[in-house]
Structures are given as C-alpha cells and as structure tokens.
Assembly symmetry: D2
Homo-oligomer: 302 residues x 4
C-alpha cells in the first residue's frame, strides 16, 4: 500500500473532486475511515472543542499533536492536519513538520493569520493577517524540512475572512505557491460559494484548490466539481453530530433516571470493542502468552 | 460553592440514590454538567475508546490524566475517575492521588485486578484478581496520600466478574472497607441485578454501595433506590451515543457527497462556540487588550 | 510551614538581598534546596538547554511545565518560573497561571518581548519589544487569574537588552507596576552593573527590583545589597557546571575506555538513591505491602 | 549515513568490544556524542533521577519516552533505551516498540523483572523475576512489531541480581535468545566481574553479550575485551558527574553569595548556545525571514 503521505498527495493532485472528512480523536478518525472516506481533516476547531477549550491556541501544539497521534495510530488513511498558523514562526514550523512526519501525519495546513489565532467563523472577530512574505517563509521552511517528498504543505488564504478582496487573495496565493505550497486552501465564511468561485475563475488551476464549504453548505457539490476544485473538506460535521447526540442522550438519561430507553438507540458495548480491535488482542495473547505463562499469570498478583 | 471533592463526598454519602454520568473528554463532561447531572464518571473504557485504543492500559496513566484534566477544567461538578488497578502498585497509587488532586479530580475508583487490566465485559476473557491484602495496601496508601479529606477512594470489587461467589465478594469488600475505602463499587456483568442485590442484602449498608448497571440496564431504577444503593453509574452511554451518531453522519455524508442534509440535523457551529465559552474570551479581550494595543496588534505580524 | 507562594512572596518583599538559584530539572532543584537556597529560578535557557533545544520556544509551553512539575514535586522551596513572553497573549497567560498554581509553582516571570522569543544574550540578535500596554494586559490577566493571593507575577523589562535607554525602561516598569506586577526584573547584558544601578537610582524602590547578574558577574554582591535590590538571580550556573562536568567525564571515559578513574571523582550510586529518597519507599513498603501480600508478590509474575 | 538502528546493530554485532555511554536528557546525549562515543545508553536510573523521582516506574512510560525523544532529536548516534520490564505485558511492549521507532530510538533493553520494577542495586531489595516464558513472549512481540529489521531488542537477565545461580541465568538467556533477542545483557551487582565471566565462559558467544560494569568498575577493560564481550555500558557516570558538580557549585555559590568564582570554573553561556546549535537558527533566519518581513516583524507586537 502507498504511504499515507503518498495517498494524500494523490488525493490533492487527483483530477476529480475528492473529500476529506473531519475527525478529532482516534475513534472518530476510525469511523471516518470505516465510512469509506479516503482522507481525514484533523480539524483545529474540533480537536479544541473535543477537549472543551477554545479554538485560539489554548492548548499547546504538542497537545494537539498528541491527538493527531492517536488519530494516525487508529487509521490507515491519510490525515491533513489543521495546524493553525504553524504555532509560531518558521522555526516552530520546522519542528512541527519533523514531529508530524514521525507520527505519520500526511500533511499540514497552515493559515496566514497571527499566533494565537482565533476561529475564522466567530462573529465580529477582527482577523489580522500575517505578512505574506513572512508566511511564505514558513511554507518554504516546511518544504525544506520534510523528509518524505510526498508530505503535503497546504497554504490557507484567510484574505476573504479578514475582509479583503479578490486581488489580495490572489496575490497571497501566488506568493505561497511560489514558496512551495502543494495546494491552496481558499477560505470563505460567506453563505454562498461566490468568493471561492471568483477565486477559482481567476486562479485557473495554477495549483490544486481546496475549499471548506461549512458556511456555504447549501451549494451543490456538483458546483465544486464543475469548477474543478481539487478537494472539499467537510470540516466539523462529525463533531457536531456527536455533540448533538451527546446532548440528547445526557438529557434523556437525566430526565428518565434510567438508561433503558437509551440502550435501544445506541450501539452496543461490543461494537466499541470491535472498533478498538479487541479481537486482535485476543489473537495476540495466544501468540505471545505461552500456556504455562498464561496459567501462572492468572494465579499471580501484580 | 463546595469544593468538587466535597460535592462528590456528599453524593456518595447521600441517603438517596444519586447518579454519575459517563464522560470521556472536555466537551462530553461539559454536556453532562449542562444536562443537570451532579457528578461525572471518568470512564476508563470510554477514555480509551475515544482515543481509538483498547481498554487494557495501552495508553499511559499520564495520558489518561491529561484527559481527566481537560474534563476537570471544563466543568464545575465533581469527577470520579475510573483509575483501573491504580496503574501499578501502592506507590504508583500514591503518585496518582497527588496528581489527581492537583487537577481537581474529586475521587478515584480502583479495581482489584492485575495490571495491565482488561475490560470486564469482554467475552471469554479470564480475569485474575489481585491479592486482597495487597489491594488493600493501595487503598490505605491512597487515603494516607490525599491532602483534601473530602477526596474519595472507591474500591471496586471484581469478584463476580472473575467468576467467584458472594462470600468472596463480601470478604474482599470487608477488607477494603477496613483499609479505608469510602465506598464499595460492586461490579457485575449479569443481565439482571441479581448479584448486586444479593450483595447489598448481605452487606447491609456497612458503607455506601455503588453500582454500574451497564449489563442489567433493564432493571428499573426504583429497584436500586429501594435497595438503598448509594450511586448508580451510567458508565458509557454518552460515548455510545456519540459513536452511533458519528457512524450515521459519516455514512450519510460519504454516500451523499454533501453536507446539506447533515446540516439540518446537527447543532450549529455557533453552538460549539457557546460550549467553548467564546463570549467570555470576547469580554476578556476588552478587559486586557488596551485599545491602543489592540489596534497595533491588528496591524502587526507574528 | 508557609505555602511555596507565601515563601516566594516573603523573599521578594524582604528588606534584605535574597537569592534564587537556577535549576532545570528535578534533581538540580533538589540539589539547590539541599545547598541551603530558599528559592529556585526555573530558567528558560537552562530548561531548554537541558533538553538539547534552543531557547526560542522550540518546546511547547506544556513541555516546559512538565519540567517545572518535576522540579516542584522534588522540592519544598518555591520556584519562580521563567515563562518567557507568557507563550502567547493575555489569554495564554491566564491558562498558564492556572496550570502553574496546580503544580505549586510559586510565581512566574514574563518578559516584554515577542513570541517566539530569542535568548537575550545571543550576540547580534535584534530584540523586538512588545507594546507595553499589551504586555501590561498580560500582567493584569495573570493577577486576575491567580487563586492564591501570594502567587507572584514578575515583569521583566527588556528595554536595555533591546538597546533602549533608561527612560524607556522606567516608562515600561511604571506601566507594569500599575498593571499589578509584584516585582520588576530589570535585565541587562552589560558586563558591569551600570544599567541596573542607574535604573535603581531612578526607580527608588517603588516596588521590589530583581536582577540577573549573569553578565556582570564580577560586580560584588555588596553593591547589590547596598543599592537595595530585592533579589539576585544566579540564572544558569548549575546548568553550566553540569555541562562542564559532563564534558570532562565523557571525554575522560572515552579516552581511557574505563570508568575506574571517574569512579573516584563522582558521587556514588547510593548518593543518587539518597537524593531520590529511596529510604522513604522502603518504609512505605513495610506500611502498605502486607507480609502475606509481599510474599505472594515475590512469587508472582506480571 | 546508516540509520541509527543500523549503527546500533553494527555495534552489537561488532567483533571488538564497543561502548555505550549513559545519557539522560538532550544535552547529555549531545555531549556524549561530541566526546566521540558511537552509541548512547538511555539509562532508566539516570532518566528517573534527573527528574527527581525514583527508579521504580514512578513516571509513566510516555514520560520516559518524551525524554528519549529529546535525546534522539539532539544526536545522530544511536540510543539503546533502558525500558525496564517493558512497562507492562507483551501488549505494552508492542506499543512501546512502535513509539520508539517513531522517535528514532535504535533499540530497547527489557529486563525479566516485574512491573513496577525496582533498581537492581538497592541494598536489601528482594527482586522477583518474571516467568521466563512470559518474558520471552515480550521479546517475540517486540521482534514481530518492529518495522525496521535493524531495530535491536536486548534481553536483560536479572538472575544474578535476584540471587540465583549460573544455571538459571543460562537457562533464561537460552529462552530469550530462542524468542528472538538480538543480544543478552547479563547483569551483576558483584564488585568483581566473576559472575559475568562465568556466564560468558558457558555461553560461548551464542549471541552478543552486553555487560554493565557499574559495580565491578575496577575490572580492567582488557578483561572484557579478552573475554569477547560485545558491548560494555558505562551506565550512569555522566549523571553522577553532573550531580557531583551541581552539588559543589550550589554549595559554593550559596556560601559565597557570589558567582564570581564559579564563573571561572564553568563553561560560558556561549558554549551553551553552541551546544544548542544557535548558529543554525541564525542561518535559517536569513533563509526564511525575508528582509521586508524581518523588518516588519521587528516593529510589531504579538
């Protein structure tokens, strides 16, 4: 099988529209893989939210990587990690890339905002952009650091988010492409695809374009396909469905003071065991615990 | 407000049946609190499952505590942490208690199995019990270590799980109580409450009794109340409902190649922001970023 | 005994010159305490150096705190942690203070440079200062966050390091004091005490002044005492002596292909055991491992 | 250059006596490399001691690996990590090997004692051995898990430490070799080399033999060479020399209330910068911070 980095590179360079589905911990990543997706978006918002913290670098970058590591360990499809601004300057990005490759994350996406970042969708939050040349230095540093030539560096352009127009977005994308970006993620918080379509029509496929249709969710996927976007990222729906379910279940059980009704609605404990690959452990016990040792172990104490 | 440890102690000693609801990360803990629960069960199974690993100490005890820390930071109700066997001997338990108090976890539950443990519900898994006196040494060590007198140490008796009868369960519970346990968790994997009811009828409230009705979920809660159990732990339903929802959502989006339908079924991105307490940050920005600084910050780079 | 925070506060407010000695891990902290020092400087340079990384935020703030935690666990005297710029903005500082209090670090020192910082003593490194009002917001945020009123927030003024004159240093110190700083650390890289003496003569004890005489090491301590400095930090000598010794020992053993000579020059393995407090564990084994359990344990397997 | 795993394998299989020198953090590892050693012993005792904790698994295995990661990042020579008992059963060993390979540790050494272990040199500490067949399962699991065929698994025989005779040591070594061990580490706490020489004379080079002459330090290295041991590990002298120096320095500075004398005895701050490879960062700043960006950066705030 191809390496995870090669798999992600193939998705990004594919001539047809591909999809990355958000995950935020090991189990959601595994679920995304089992559903048939070919790649995972390691969402910064979802990873932060899952821990109960805000999406403004409240947890450290190594804490984010700990989660990415569980996700990578639990799956065989590639992860593109949302790495915010790179968590510092070019030097922090260099260390980040080294550590991501060690845990077999296939690529990272960095955005041209300032550290600590704030989420792009928060109402009334004024976003300040990084100097594009300083940001390009981060991209170049990432590309020079990666050992696996297939590792991907995606540059996320936040111009539209910050209130700038098309020309600034194009200017920045051009600088980032020149610095070595493998793809451009053009971000928009409009509830129509207008901005990203405008961008694509000017950009003219100079490199693969990635979009995040969270806010313009009503746009038919066919529109993205026809306009030759490379990848659409479904960026937070797994987390949102989990929250929805957990809120309902917590309320139901609290109200009824019983789990009887919930029991009928949810997967069994044995399905958790299956997702955890418990059977593999049983097989391994047979291989690595000799009968005699097994018996003595059972009679012993810690 | 009372300390978290005092809140948990009050629940355990309460004359009426109380409930702990499972959570496994910061957001689920927050959801459990918002639903009205007064305490959280930090489930070992769910914490492991959320990371995509098995419930047999595949992650280190400090990795488990990292998750407990996020849960504690995100909530104001107490957490009883499922601490497996204590992750080693009495000395490991001492260090564990110190670290749990530092992150404001209100109590821990340890079980009389061997490290590394295996989940009590896995079919055909032979469970080996710890020497009860060695286990009692862990309880005593925990009690001697805690700084806050309200911190709770719950002793989980796995005799029924391991196939032993009532007298062995009672013998062990007696030893653990004598060693200082604040409550006994009597565990059973039967699909009726028979074992725990038998135990309670003999135990006769020598100390608070805690149960985990995962397998005997059909038993009406009134039965637990009438038999004067102290606490019922709903031990994994939040995780199971999250998995159920994530599986459905992942399949739906993969099949439709669209998020349009999911959008109607799940909470909004803004509800995530609310759960993360984003408004508090905005208020704090006004308090701590002086107008001049704010303006300069917006014009600056990293 | 007073809390660690109260101990540090007392040192800072003491009318006579006090000293903090650098440490960078648990064992060096313990050694500093055993030598008779009443407080520890958790040096950012030394902590980074001990890990083999540079002093420019290459490790995450949680990795730094992991080390501070070991240091705090190993000692009973207070630690003032060198927290660089606070590792982000005011919001990161809030989280930092919460986490420092949890691990019983007595105070933090933050400096008015930009994240990621670079060490103040590197030749030819141009240092850029933070906006003083934004930095003051960090101090205020720290003071508002601390739960223990004795926790100390020290503001480190880097004006001299960045090439500015006395008036800018005084202007900044005034702003930081007004924001709530418990002490000002006035830093200088000159090889005489000229700058810090000039500052003190103008500052006139408006609040306790802390100095770091690394570069002006030849200035007699009596000069600091006469000029009523509050605390002198010996900021990296423990690390430097350890490196010196390790280099010599590594060379000696490599050259001789023998440890025989080294054996005569270094403390015994038993002295390591004493520093680790091994005797306490033996005593605890007697208390918590019942004879029967102990015997069974010795006969058993994992 | 050969991979680190290949380098270690070459040392182990070399026909002449090779040496591994202890290190316990990034800087000591770097110092060992600069002294000319070709491999590093990641000592469990020294790593624990450096953190101020005892050598009985008080820190978690992931905390130990964090230190091994710094050591690996700081060096280009291979590390053989002292992994105690493997930190659990065969399944924990499998996870451990995966994680060690990710951080480019070249091999691990596991010992046939029980978790949590205690240091082999503590007086009067009764040591209990693992069932040799269960231990062999760990070795087999490690060998089956490693991806790089050059990764080394060393089996440490603790029979002599536990008070058993030569035949038990040989029996165990034979079982471990059969299970796949790449080398046997035969341990002894005698102050002469008698036991290891007896073992070697019977073992007759069935596989490479490794020794740790901490207690029989007076035995000339020529004896090891003549008896065809493969590797001698100098297991804790770097740590012991660092402690010796830190104790002296702390006392000196405390007594003199001055750093003036210490200054003459220790390496300079600039030597720390050199060890941290600060020059590389300066070069990188020129490559990745464009002049314009650099200028703007210097005028900006966080």
């Amino acid at each position: 099988m191809n390496s995870k980095a090669a798999q992600l590179r193939k998705l990004i360079n594919s001539k047809k529209l591909e999809f990355l589905m958000e995950a935020h911990n090991g189990i959601s990543a595994k679920i995304v893989e089992e559903a048939g997706f070919q790649g995972i978006w390691g969402s910064g918002l979802s990873i932060a939210a899952s821990k109960g913290v805000r999406d403004c670098n409240e947890i450290s970058w190594t804490q984010t990587l700990q989660t990415a590591e569980y996700m990578s360990d639990a799956t065989s499809i590639p992860i593109l990690l949302d790495a915010d601004t790179g968590f510092g300057n070019f030097n922090n990005v260099r260390r980040l890339v080294k550590k991501l490759e060690q845990i077999d994350v296939a690529g990272l996406c960095i955005e041209d905002k300032l550290f600590p970042k704030t989420n792009s969708f928060i109402d009334g939050e004024q976003q300040t952009l990084a100097d594009p040349h300083e940001f390009a230095g981060k991209i170049k540093a990432a590309k020079d650091t990666q050992k696996d030539p297939d590792f991907s560096v995606v540059a996320r352009v936040e111009s539209f988010i910050a209130g700038w127009g098309l020309s600034e977005a194009l200017r920045r994308a051009e600088i980032y492409l020149e610095a070595g970006a493998d793809a451009i993620l053009i971000h928009s918080k409009k509830n129509t695809a207008e901005q990203v379509l405008d961008f694509q029509s000017e950009w003219d496929n100079r490199c693969p374009l990635i979009i995040v249709p969270t806010m313009y969710h009503a746009t038919p996927t066919s529109v993205f396909r026809e306009n030759q976007f490379s990848v659409a990222i479904w960026a937070n729906q797994i987390m949102r469905s989990a929250i929805t379910a957990m809120q309902k279940t917590a309320s139901l059980i609290h109200g009824q003071e019983s789990i009887a009704e919930t029991e009928k609605q949810v997967i069994s404990v044995h399905e958790i065991f299956r997702l955890q690959n418990t059977q593999e452990l049983k097989n391994a016990e047979n291989a690595y615990l000799k009968p005699s040792a097994k018996k003595r172990s059972e009679a012993s104490n810690q």
